[in-house]
Symmetry: C2
Subunit: 80 residues, 2 copies
């Protein structure tokens, strides 16, 4: 089973990497962008067939390791 955990900074948390990309896009002529934020996408291959159990496990993984829940939010997607 393939799952994706998207981890991104909470609203209001400063994102210097996003700001740098925003600035770089502007400097090569893409003026149409008003904001850029950068997150992580963690793609996991699981040896599991039970979707519900997998979701619970992914939630636990995210809380303990994948995301820093003080400044980051995450969402979990089961792809197949």
């Amino acid at each position: 089973m393939k799952a994706i955990v998207n981890v991104y900074l909470k609203e209001g948390v400063l994102d210097p990497q996003g700001k740098a990309v925003h600035h770089a896009l502007g400097s090569i002529g893409f003026d149409n962008v008003s904001d850029v934020r950068i997150g992580k996408q963690i793609i996991l291959e699981l040896n599991s067939t039970d979707k519900e159990k997998a979701k619970e496990e992914l939630d636990e993984m995210s809380q303990t390791l994948l995301a820093n829940t003080v400044i980051e939010d995450y969402d979990i997607e089961i792809v197949e």
Copy 2:
């Protein structure tokens, strides 16, 4: 308009960050994972209403700046 560009390493390209996370997950008891790969998620806010034009522009942005197309693939999603 909100758009998301997901940038991830091509199949076959070594992903040390993913390997580290895989190992860390194993060491805290998540043995159920067979592979981990890590990508970037770039969330853009665009001053644009034309979806088709936005997609073209995002494709250009990805090719020139957001992704290194030698080792990375990307996909574009218009969210709203």
